[in-house]
């Protein structure tokens, strides 16, 4: 492919991605989260990542790009009759949208990289321990879900019907959503991680599917102690 045709292809894909990704992304944030726990939805247990059922970032981007290119090639630029779209601008500045989408995708991949989850769920709280990541916790109070704000960011969690949603707002208009959905049989858990950045017109969603598993009996038991710090040992049978 020549440089010119590559640029043309890239430009077309950029335009088309704007249109397509809006539809491809997961559902947008819903502010009206409920705080009442859905007792019938029980996430508790141990979960491990199922790579086969989970989306792969680069496959997803590649697929989207192919669709975008095909779509854009069918769209003539307004007023010219030529197959070019208008320049994309944000705040009157041209934006390399495709690069931005890849950035968002990479962030979604980093954020949803954890392979093992341990979920404790009671009537009024859910704690999700994630391997190599910080835990997500949600406490339910009477009335609406209340954001937890601090200097580091803002967290909001709650139920959206049968789905549990975590929303984390970080500086720079960077927002993360984790939308957790349990399969009807209760053996699979989908976490749709959506990342969004202020100034970019569409979010990016990556779906990760986890399978229930029973931890091995001889796994390590870890504890944090004042004298030894974090120490692990094999669990007694």
């Amino acid at each position: 492919m020549s440089t010119a045709s590559f640029k043309k292809s890239f430009w077309i894909s950029t335009v088309a991605m704007q249109v397509l990704l809006t539809a491809c992304a997961g559902p947008g944030p819903r502010i009206g989260l409920e705080s009442e726990g859905h007792a019938q939805v029980d996430f508790s247990g141990s979960w491990q990542l199922d790579y086969r059922l989970s989306e792969d970032l680069y496959e997803k981007i590649e697929t989207l790009q192919k669709i975008a290119i095909a779509h854009a090639q069918r769209q003539p630029a307004p007023g010219t009759g030529r197959r070019h779209g208008p320049a994309i601008t944000i705040n009157n500045r041209p934006v390399n949208s495709f690069r931005a989408i890849i950035n968002l995708g990479q962030m979604a991949e980093i954020i949803s990289r954890t392979t093992v989850l341990e979920i404790d769920q009671t009537g009024d709280a859910i704690e999700i321990s994630r391997k190599d990541d910080f835990p997500l916790s949600c406490s339910f109070y009477g009335g609406m879900a209340v954001p937890i704000e601090d200097a580091l960011g803002t967290e909001l969690c709650g139920w959206d019907r049968h789905q549990l949603v975590f929303r984390i707002d970080l500086p720079d208009g960077f927002t993360i959503h984790h939308r957790m959905t349990l399969a009807p049989e209760g053996d699979k858990l989908n976490i749709a991680t959506t990342v969004q950045s202020r100034g970019l017109p569409q979010p990016f969603t990556l779906n990760r599917v986890y399978q229930r598993f029973v931890p091995l009996a001889d796994e390590f038991e870890c504890e944090t102690t004042v004298s030894k710090g974090k120490s692990c040992r094999r669990a007694t049978p």
Binding site: R93, D150, R198
Partner: protein
């Protein structure tokens, strides 16, 4: 104290301006009768019961409970370092008979600001300090300091120590001696109200007046003093556990404050920046990494604080020729030790055990 970039952004202290304070050291060897012992109670973590209020006030109970043990230990070190005082001990619970008792309530603690309400009073019930101390710190500290043993809010502790010294400096040697006498008699009266209550009288304002002193060679007083030394021995023993906790918590706590600070700083910069919303992958990743690390440190602190109570080792103490093992939290060990001392005293004097160890 470094007042850095954020000084203008951080919430200003309620009662005292940001300050830079050097610790006042004793310029000469003080007479032992002028050296008051200080009891520093483990701080009140200042955690509201309502979980919703905790979260809205950005209070992480696990971190606060850890700080309630960590911060008094720094104050203890500062007071000791000044050389102005006798023994300075961190107490698992308040001891009203302490020559000088200092309590604290944590009002705010994040990487940017520390605000503590300090109340100090002597054995006679006279208030020494009853005010809120607040200090802010700049990024320079976090950028330059890797050693957790240099606390970012050391100026605050210096100021508390200096304020305590200022009160003490206004007292005469006679007045200081009287505080020590009252302290001993309050302890004695707690062991044996019948024998020692007459030596003290309570004034209408709640302070305690010394009416008379027991004879120098009073055998009951000698017995009381012996038991009190046993109590101090216990406090000195558990002090090692607070020290372990301080050492274990220090590095993690320092990291948590550092991340908390950096994120605050970046947020303030962003609010004033035209770049808002237009930063790329490195900025997003940085924001997420900071958040993730601070959450992980927060969790580690919570686990550490929880482990402190469960891990506290049984204390073996020699008491009247016998070895006594104390179990449970330091608070309950302390209570049990004081109960044993009272029981011994009652046995020796033939008195019935009365009153509570807390007086």
């Amino acid at each position: 104290m470094v007042i850095g970039l954020l000084a203008a952004c951080a919430t200003p202290p309620a009662t005292a301006p940001p300050f830079s304070s050097d610790l006042l050291f004793a310029s000469e060897t003080l007479e032992s009768q002028s050296l008051l012992d200080i009891g520093l109670s483990v701080f009140d973590p200042g955690v509201p019961e309502d979980k919703l209020r905790q979260e809205q006030s950005q209070i992480y109970p696990g971190v606060r409970h850890a700080e309630a043990r960590y911060l008094p230990y720094i104050l203890r070190q500062t007071l000791e370092k000044s050389g102005q005082w006798g023994a300075v001990r961190v107490l698992p619970q308040t001891d009203p008979s302490a020559e000088l008792l200092v309590t604290g309530t944590i009002l705010r603690s994040n990487g940017v600001e520390l605000r503590i309400h300090i109340h100090a009073w002597d054995a006679s019930g006279r208030d020494w300090l009853n005010k809120v101390y607040s200090d802010t710190v700049g990024w320079d500290y976090y950028r330059d300091t890797q050693n957790f043993r240099t606390d970012p809010f050391q100026d605050l502790y210096n100021t508390i120590a200096n304020d305590l010294y200022a009160v003490r400096a206004r007292l005469t040697a006679t007045e200081l001696g009287r505080i020590i006498d009252i302290s001993q008699l309050r302890y004695a009266a707690a062991l044996s109200p019948g024998a020692f209550a007459d030596f003290l009288a309570e004034r209408p304002d709640g302070t305690v007046e010394l009416r008379r002193l027991p004879a120098r060679n009073d055998p009951m007083m000698a017995r009381v003093e012996r038991l009190r030394q046993s109590e101090y021995l216990f406090i000195d023993t558990v002090d090692a556990q607070y020290q372990s906790f301080y050492r274990a918590m220090g590095p993690t706590y320092s990291l948590w404050r550092r991340y908390s600070y950096r994120q605050t700083l970046e947020l303030e910069e962003l609010k004033q920046s035209e770049r808002l919303g237009q930063r790329g992958f490195p900025a997003m990743k940085q924001a997420y990494d900071n958040y993730k690390e601070s959450k992980i440190q927060q969790q580690a602190l919570r686990e550490l604080a929880e482990s402190f109570d469960t891990e506290v080792e049984p204390t073996a103490m020699e008491l009247e020729g016998k070895v006594v093992y104390l179990n449970g939290s330091l608070q309950s060990q302390y209570s049990e030790w004081r109960r044993l001392l009272r029981a011994i005293y009652a046995e020796e004097t033939g008195e019935l055990e009365t009153g509570s160890p807390e007086q």
